[in-house]
Amino acid sequence: MMIDYAWLIPVFPIIGFLIISLVPKKWLIWEGGAPYIIGMSTASFVLSILVIIDVLNGHTLTGPDSPRMTWLSAGSFELTFGIWIDQLTAVMLLVVSLVGTLVVIYSVGYMHGEGETKRRYYAEIALFIGVMFGLVLADNFVEMFIFWELVGLCSYLLIGFWKHKPSAASAAKRAFIVTRVGDIMLLSGLIILLRYVGTLDFSELFAEGSLEGSGMSSGMATLSMILLFGGAIGKSAQFPLHEWLPDAMEGPTTVSALIHAATMVKAGVYLVARSYPMLVQTPDALAFIAIIGGITALIAATNALVAVDIKRVLAYSTISQLGYMMLALGAGGLIITGLMHDGGHDGLGAGYSSGIFHMMNHAFFKALLFLAAGSVIHAVGTNDMLKMGGLGKTMKITSITMLIGSLSIAGIPPFSGFWSKDEVLASTFHAFEDAGSYSTVFLILWIMGVATAFMTAFYMFRMWFMTFTGKQRSDAHAHESPVSMTVPLMILASLAAVSGFAFFIGRGFFSFMSDSISSTIGSSVAVEAIHPLESLGEIFTSPLTYASLIVSAVGLFTAYSIYYKGAFSVSRLASGVTGKLQKLLAERYYISWFYDAFAYNIIYGISLVADIFDRYVIDGAINGMAWLSSKSGAFIRRSQTGQVQNYVAAIVIGGCLLLLFLIVFEWGEW
């Protein structure tokens, strides 16, 4: 069984990392050692596929029997390393290994001109992919947290890859610190769990009623889950910690593709999906997740409307889509919780599955979009869409693949985004129907989701039309990219086109995913298998589907008429209320500004005050004591006249006083 060798999946890229960082320079045969990394990530990919086939055949590696080793133990405190493979892991393995391998291949062309630093680039990319594999294979939260932090490290190193650029160094730092704020919450949540449940192993935490059974109050349980989600807020760039992701565009585009599609930000979604068996015990935390997700989706989409940097548009769209995933996961969880009390229901795992489904599809189309954008940037040498235009003629492959990606993310059938986005909105709507006290909230969230769908279609096609149609606005000689770049684009484009069909192929993606929670959530909630064709029928008969389809089409058409036909000039909006709104959006709601001000004025201000306090008050007190003793010494030393007779006089007077003392007090005893 290949599944028993799954631990090799993260080991391959990490070996690649070690090879590249440690061997002498002359052994790095070609392109800074790229062949090693391509080989290693391909090996991981092949092994991942074999493991996925095992999972499709119903083999999983979960529970206490999975292989593990003790990493650290001190009394009641024990940390272990192990492997956990279920359907969710399989999806993540597919996404990470496929996108990772394609990105590495693409890098050969994209990073060709980098020179010496390529070595560092490939080493860091290999480590990045390796630790992400480690993260998805972990069988307990400590192991996961360790890789989680290492993923953060790699993104820090890669975002700041062009370290001579001040903006890159700053963005890397910001990404690390902001995600670390999330990590603090995650760490606190984990420590609470460890304290109460006594272990962070999935097999025990995912047992039914594990939180209540540990003697946690429901408030503490909810707090721990919200703190856990705090990690995902940082990592997956959810509101209000989402501003690091657009800044993270300072890294090479390949890195952005990896971060957005496969590694960094998907870790947060994975964390939430992985924690599902615990989350369903705390409905309030689930509602919190859904609300944050909905807000993030909407806010990021509005920001994308006015961005002119092509990578920034994509970055905001990623945040927005991640918001969708969180929304679906939260909503789906609430449906399950609600129904845990009311008995079984058809399609219980729909919210969960649609979140994962969207994550998978998003991985393909977002990797595609980023790599296509990278191809464009490679050709014209700028990120600014205002300087692009008319590239469709010279860059046929890039423009067509990017069109497929845009159609997919906009939710136009039959491309992959349509299937998953539709299901995300459908689960939100079901939550409105089923979620009891939260139903009003979910109605609002559903409306926000639909509005986001409209905006997504609009800004994606705004980007596409601005880039590939119309007149060329720069004098750069654009040309199609080399084969190593276009081949990954074509592979990803075909995946973005068809990966949605997983919805109804075979057993269907949803019943496949439902297995992963039905085995862990417990017997009282039977997550029933959803028949793919049945749900297919449901999709095309539901008015919800047509609602989301129509708004997407309207968004697409609006973009077409403004940016292709020029039916309406955007510059007319640049004044008055709309102008102010535009400025607000362009300034990203001043969130980034607020964080900068907070960090620089408040935190740094406090530290300056503390420094002065330290120097003048605490140290001042010490130096004051030293000053006091030396001054009093200077005063007292005046009694040392150097005149021998003074000293003798003092001795004589002292002797007489002693005598007198003896005479007065001891006389009687003589």
Binding site: G75, F77, V142, A168, L187, I618
Partner: protein
């Protein structure tokens, strides 16, 4: 295989007075260095050999150390490799040495850091005999402190440490060295005297028959509660200044700013650990009731140190001063860990000391390289240095990441265990010290961004800057390899620490 290694190492060391050798070999080395002629190479080689042999012994000791079986009924740590020689029988003073799990990690980093400091100081040509001789003398003192089991001799070695450090700062220091060295000496000496007072009080209160730590530990049950609290308070002050804890920490940044790099490495890597070691070796097991009465105070001091020092770090413009304050912050973890008076907390505290010793050495070395090669350590004057010094930038990044608690490097396990212990004892108060995780990342990465990354600075002459020399790279590479090794396999140390802590907790009567 591990058992084979253990019995092999035990066979190798059997019959040797290994701890005495480790203490006095550097002394012989120091004398030889003082007597050596003017030849730089002979001086360096002698110092390397005489700090290197104890290092080999220390590595063997890690293998030979036996653990996992706790003897019953002992109220005090059961020392291994025990040696005892009578010295002043009329006062009950003897030269007794032995190690347990708490001494072992610190005993390992003592010769290690001395060895790498000597290597790092390869190009010191100002009065080299005195310089290397004093470093070796310091090794004598610190090794003694970590293995001695007799209070009076312990105190003597404790004071021996001060003298070489005073001269290292005072002779080879920076522009303000006189102020810094005298401040260091007087401040820590006052603390030592308070500690001596407390030790004397314990000695007389237990009947003035012996200075042996284990026997005095057994006598502890006879102390009254009031005496324990007062004596513990005095010891807490004595060790707290040494660690150092806010608000008694201001000697540290001054001393570090002026000290030569090797001096800083030894000061932060070893001398600070003496304070933490004293707390867990002397104060807590001998005065358990005092400890549990003052534990909340210790916790508050520790948490304040963690956060306050981290915040002050953010404002520092001098790289080395920032690293110095970060030491205060990390030693706060030690204090909090001990204050929990729980198994995990104390193990974590000891492990933080070990981890911090390795990490801070790298940090001070990177600061030293920046100073030597760029002529300044001021962050606003630096910038884009990584372009000229890629190796140094790598070491510095690795060191900073280790210090901010990145998993896979040694500090992570230590901090994680401390946080767990804090939550276990004080619940949601955890949310206060855990903030330091973000602040720490903030000041390190910000400093890295401003000094190493971005465009090359024009505020200093950058034409002739070259990368770290081999003797500067090698020590940092060795230490980073160890940081990674103990980060990936922290169990090597943590397993060995455990037994001693169990025995101490038995004395406290808690768990």
């Amino acid at each position: 295989m591990l058992e084979g290694a253990q019995s092999f190492a035990q066979d190798l060391l059997s019959g040797l007075p290994v701890l005495s050798i480790m203490i006095f070999l550097p002394l012989i080395g120091a004398i030889l260095v003082f007597l050596a002629g003017r030849s730089m190479s002979i001086i360096r080689v002698i110092s390397l050999i005489f700090s290197g042999i104890p290092l080999i012994f220390a590595v063997l000791l890690i293998f030979a150390f036996s653990w996992g079986a706790i003897p019953d009924g002992e109220a005090f740590a059961d020392p291994q490799f025990y040696e005892e020689y009578e010295w002043i029988p009329s006062l009950g003073v003897s030269f007794a040495v032995g190690i347990d799990g708490i001494s072992l990690p610190l005993l390992f980093i003592t010769p290690l850091l001395t060895f790498v400091s000597i290597l790092f100081s390869w190009d010191v040509d100002r009065r080299p005999r005195e310089y290397f001789g004093l470093i070796l003398l310091m090794q004598v003192g610190v090794t003694g402190v970590f293995v001695l089991l007799d209070y009076l001799v312990f105190y003597i070695f404790w004071e021996i440490v001060l003298i070489p450090m005073y001269f290292l700062i005072g002779i080879w220091g920076g522009p303000n060295k006189d102020y810094a060295s005298i401040k260091f000496f007087i401040y820590t000496h006052v603390a030592s005297l308070v500690m001596l007072l407390a030790i004397m009080a314990i000695y007389f209160n237990a009947g003035a028959t012996t200075f042996n730590m284990m026997e005095l530990g057994d006598a502890a049950s006879g102390f009254t509660r009031g005496f324990q609290i007062i004596a513990f308070g005095a010891l807490l002050f004595g060790f707290g200044v040494k660690m150092p804890m806010v608000p008694f920490h201001t000697w540290l940044p001054d001393a570090h700013v002026e000290a030569p790099t090797a001096g800083s490495v030894l000061l932060a890597g070893l001398l600070l650990k003496m304070g933490g070691y004293g707390l867990i070796r002397v104060a807590i097991p001998t005065l358990p009731e005092g400890a549990s009465y003052l534990a909340p105070l210790m916790a508050v001091i520790g948490i304040v140190s963690i956060l306050y020092a981290a915040v002050v770090c953010l404002a520092q413009k001098d790289l080395k001063k920032m690293v110095a304050y970060s030491s205060v912050s990390h030693m706060g973890f030690v204090m909090v860990g001990f204050a929990t008076l729980s198994y995990v907390g104390i193990v974590a505290g000891v492990f933080v000391m070990f981890a911090h010793g390795l990490v801070t050495a790298v940090l001070f070395m990177t600061c030293g390289v920046v100073q030597h090669h760029c002529g300044t350590r001021m962050i606003p004057k630096l910038g884009g240095i990584s372009e000229k010094m890629p190796k140094l930038a790598t070491y510095m990044t690795a060191g900073f990441l280790a210090s901010l608690g990145l998993p896979g490097l040694v500090m992570f396990a230590a901090e994680f265990m401390t946080f767990w212990a804090i939550f276990n004892n004080w619940g949601l108060w955890l949310l206060v010290p855990i903030l330091s995780v973000a602040i720490t990342a903030g000041y390190y990465l910000w400093a890295l961004q401003r000094s190493m990354f971005g465009p090359l600075t024009d505020k200093i002459e950058t034409e002739n800057i070259h990368d770290a020399n081999w003797y500067e790279s090698a020590p940092m590479a060795i230490l980073i390899a160890l940081i990674a090794l103990f980060g990936i396999l922290p169990a090597i140390m943590i397993d060995r620490i455990g037994d001693a802590v169990t025995i101490i907790l038995r004395a406290i009567g808690g768990g």
